[in-house]
């Protein structure tokens, strides 16, 4: 019944996050997270990186983010303590393992967080954003830009404060973005197959691809 397209309402009253990732993260480790309210209406979307420092085998600790369904606690789903450098200045989302690959892998402490985009200035005693912050690989979590994390939290906080039936729902991570190895410099469509930037594509080409994937998913 959850997110039933006919009913267009989540009967349990939950906001959810669906993360669409590439099926082969060796080629492209990024994806898009789409946040929907309990009526399944999209309220926010942002880019994430789902590559782990230990590589592609998602059954291994520190490797890419495992697919599957994670439960967001109904309340107090945000964590703020710990390392600001690692997780950024904003809260991170707690995701408890529920089903799918994440359960088979036996892995844990997977979150959606920012981080590695600031440096602590020991003279001024303040955190400063580095030049050209990027989404650095994680220990298995999903990394987002700090600004996106702030907005993500603010939007879901507003949902819950304006609607007493809104609670934290699920994070569903899917490897449903497919690609072919050829890349012609701009995104294009051939029948129903979308061609994606190869491993050696420039940042700009990858960004173009991300923007394009976003526009497709909005349709």
């Amino acid at each position: 019944m959850r997110n039933n397209p006919i009913l267009r309402i989540d009967p349990t009253g939950r906001w959810d996050v669906t993360v669409h990732l590439y099926n082969d993260r060796k080629v492209h480790g990024y994806g898009v997270a789409i946040v929907t309210d309990r009526k399944s209406d999209e309220v926010y979307r942002f880019n994430v990186r789902a590559e782990g420092t230990a590589g592609r085998n998602r059954m291994k600790d520190y490797a890419d983010t495992p697919l599957g369904i994670y439960d967001i606690p109904n309340k107090n789903m945000w964590k703020t303590d710990g390392s600001r450098r690692s997780y950024g200045p904003n809260a991170r989302l707690i995701m408890n393992e529920e089903s799918g690959e994440i359960i088979k892998s036996g892995r844990d402490l997977i979150r959606i967080h920012g981080g590695q985009q600031e440096i602590y200035n020991e003279i001024t005693k303040t955190w400063e954003t580095v030049d050209k912050p990027t989404l650095v690989k994680t220990g298995g979590c999903l990394r987002a830009l700090d600004a996106d994390m702030a907005k993500f939290k603010s939007i879901t906080d507003n949902l819950m404060s304006n609607d007493s039936e809104e609670f934290g729902g699920k994070v569903t991570i899917k490897g449903n973005l497919k690609q072919k190895t050829t890349w012609k410099g701009v995104p294009y469509k051939e029948n129903t197959t979308y061609h994606a930037p190869g491993e050696n594509a420039s940042d700009e080409e990858k960004q173009n691809w991300n923007s394009w994937v976003n526009s497709i998913l909005k349709q």
Binding site: A54, G82, D108, Q116, T134, T138, G139, G140
Partner: protein, 190 residues
């Protein structure tokens, strides 16, 4: 200057203590009890006793800080527990562990390399060896992109290891193998 001093201390440690290095796994019950008795960190003792749940929280950060500010008398216990954390951490916790690992190994390069040296059958510890290389590679990458405040960079950490391992072929060999993995993981971060 601080890094230079670290190199000197590391060299001194390597000359003075090589051959007397003790690891937790080889200690007698009595020796272990003595170490636990002098250990002042409640977090370390709680974790050792199995009553501490590792997580991406302040308490775990505190435990890691206690482990890296170790003195010689509790070194085997601290290293044993840091190894345990390295093998148990995943996800959000993994990102916090890397800076602790680099600080520990930079202060105790010989101790660290001895644990994995050939005469200690590195193959049995290959996974842990690789995990340390991954954490150190990650941290050096963060340093390179400007998000790490750690005082070590690629060049001076390598120099610390190089200087510390010069006097012993086994250690040197382990270091060379280790650094190849560090390089691999730095590249992997890109």
């Amino acid at each position: 200057m601080k890094v230079f001093l670290t190199i000197i201390i590391s060299m001194f440690f390597s000359i003075a203590n090589y051959g007397q290095i003790k690891f937790w796994e080889n200690l007698s019950c009595e020796e272990k009890t003595n170490i636990l008795n002098v250990c002042e960190s409640e977090l370390i003792k709680t974790f050792y006793e199995g009553h501490f749940v590792l997580s991406d929280d302040e308490k775990t950060v505190g435990l890691l800080n206690d482990l890296i500010t170790v003195n010689d008398s509790t070194l085997p216990l601290s290293f044993y527990l840091l190894n345990k954390i390295c093998t148990q951490s995943d996800g959000a916790l993994a990102e916090t562990v890397s800076s602790s690992c680099i600080q520990f190994v930079a202060m105790r390069p010989i101790y660290f390399l001895s644990y994995f040296s050939n005469n200690r059958e590195i193959s049995k510890q290959k996974q842990l060896f690789e995990t340390y290389a991954m954490f150190i590679g990650s941290e050096l990458y963060y340093k390179r992109i400007g998000t790490s405040n750690i005082k070590y960079d690629y060049k001076n950490l390598k120099e610390i290891f190089n200087s510390a391992s010069e006097s012993n072929n086994d250690i040197k060999e382990t270091f060379n193998e280790f650094w190849k993995l560090v390089d691999k993981y730095i590249k992997n971060m890109e």
